[in-house]
Assembly symmetry: C2
Homo-oligomer: 267 residues x 2
């Protein structure tokens, strides 16, 4: 899959691209069937919400689940990022599954991902990219990502280290700056069925609200980085900011369905 010139222009202007139905319902099911078992595990890579103890994020899942290991090498996720970053040599900087659990999913404050990659991990430039795959419908009720279009063109903004508001520390942006950016760019919250893909610039300012609905909003995030832009500080654990900078070898496009067939044959 290759992004069209119009998609590249949209990305450069807005800082994100939304691609509904990039993965089939059958492919999504292969992954979604694994999710309750993943979140049920009691291990450091599974971060929980303050108070409720509901799952918030499962990190590094590509190393402890074979279906997600394939997803971390999936060409439909790798190719558009390689195109926009201008390099086929990409490694996985971070891989996570966010739960935004039904009833208990809490907010993520306004932030840029590159702020964390720079401040915590000493990533030299923002030549890294997030691409997300939703494993459940994203709608107005279950805490969709909110973007300020065009905010990536501001570069890296001043940020404060918020370690108290939620159960995961984040470099967050102050309210007057958000107000100024929203006055210019507005707000958007892309919504769509499970299997939709969303890519966004490391400097795009984003947040997400609480989820009071009975619908969990599971999204897998790949943070892909150019191999020539590897991080230079290993302050955060390897399962949060990965240290293996070997270029990812893409899997075949039908890898998830092939995996499902093999599993059924083995049963």
């Amino acid at each position: 899959m290759r992004l069209s010139d119009a998609q590249v222009r949209d990305f450069e202007r807005d800082g994100y691209l939304f691609m509904p139905n990039a993965f089939s319902p059958e492919e999504v099911r292969v992954l979604a069937d694994e999710v309750p078992g993943l979140f049920a595990q009691d291990r450091p890579e599974v971060v929980r919400e303050k108070g409720s103890g509901a799952p918030r994020t499962a990190f590094f899942v590509q190393t402890w689940n074979p279906a997600f290991a394939l997803l971390a090498r999936h060409p439909r996720l790798l190719d558009p990022v390689a195109q926009l970053l201008g390099s086929d040599k990409l490694y996985m900087h971070q891989f996570k599954l966010n739960a935004k659990a039904a009833f208990d999913g809490a907010v993520w404050q306004w932030h840029q991902d590159y702020a964390t990659w720079h401040n915590d991990d000493d990533m030299p430039t923002p030549r890294a990219m997030n691409i997300a795959l939703s494993l459940a419908e994203v709608n107005e009720f279950n805490g969709p990502l909110m973007f300020i279009p065009g905010s990536h063109r501001e570069g890296r903004l001043e940020a404060g280290h918020d370690t108290t508001t939620t159960s995961y520390p984040l470099w967050t942006i102050d309210n007057p700056t958000i107000t100024r950016l929203v006055e210019r760019g507005g707000l958007v919250a892309p919504k769509g069925p499970a299997g939709s893909m969303l890519m966004f610039h490391g400097n795009l300012v984003h947040a997400s609200g609480s989820n009071l609905s009975p619908w969990s909003r599971w999204v897998v995030y790949l943070s892909l980085n150019r191999c020539d832009n590897a991080i230079r500080r290993h302050k955060r654990p390897n399962w949060i900011a990965h240290r293996d900078v070997t270029p990812i070898v893409p899997a075949p496009d039908d890898c998830l369905m092939a995996y499902a067939r093999e599993r059924r044959a083995a049963e």
Copy 2:
């Protein structure tokens, strides 16, 4: 103003009615101009969010602000409630202004208002009604009310007294019940410009999410009760559950603009 037969049927089926642009931008401005000054006051009737200290609710405002005193007698709010409750003799059970402040507005958990009116105030029957007027645009980003259509037909549901999640105690409904009701009725979140009116049954199950946007979502709520349905327990302060059961005498329909003209003339 009189509700049409179709509106009455919609209300009976869904438990709510949304009426965009019921008040003009000029009328809204008369009220909205007062709001920052109201929330700035340090008095018991102004409840604040945990942590941030941002305003959450200003109670009993009709007794300490002349513009809101007129709103509490406004025929556009009183008439449709009188029609649905089948009585012209109504008194104000509660009057409040919810801030859902920009950046800091926190959630209201799933609840029925009549649960509180019954459990705390010993209101004999649910023959009371909420009618809300928005003093700011309500959109998908600033924490709109979420309703489960038809849930009012369940009657009063089991509820637990939540005194910890937010800064205001509430009788809230458990997650399995919400899941069951949403499977049948779905979710809606009416949105519209400032000046829109929203009325909903005392047994309609509702909640609202956080507000991370730079737009405060100010809404005035009148909880009107039939005078023959007055509460029988005075456990909560008078400024939360009012004790004056004198029937409200409606003001003229143009009272807000007349008030604004008088103010300008006096300046």
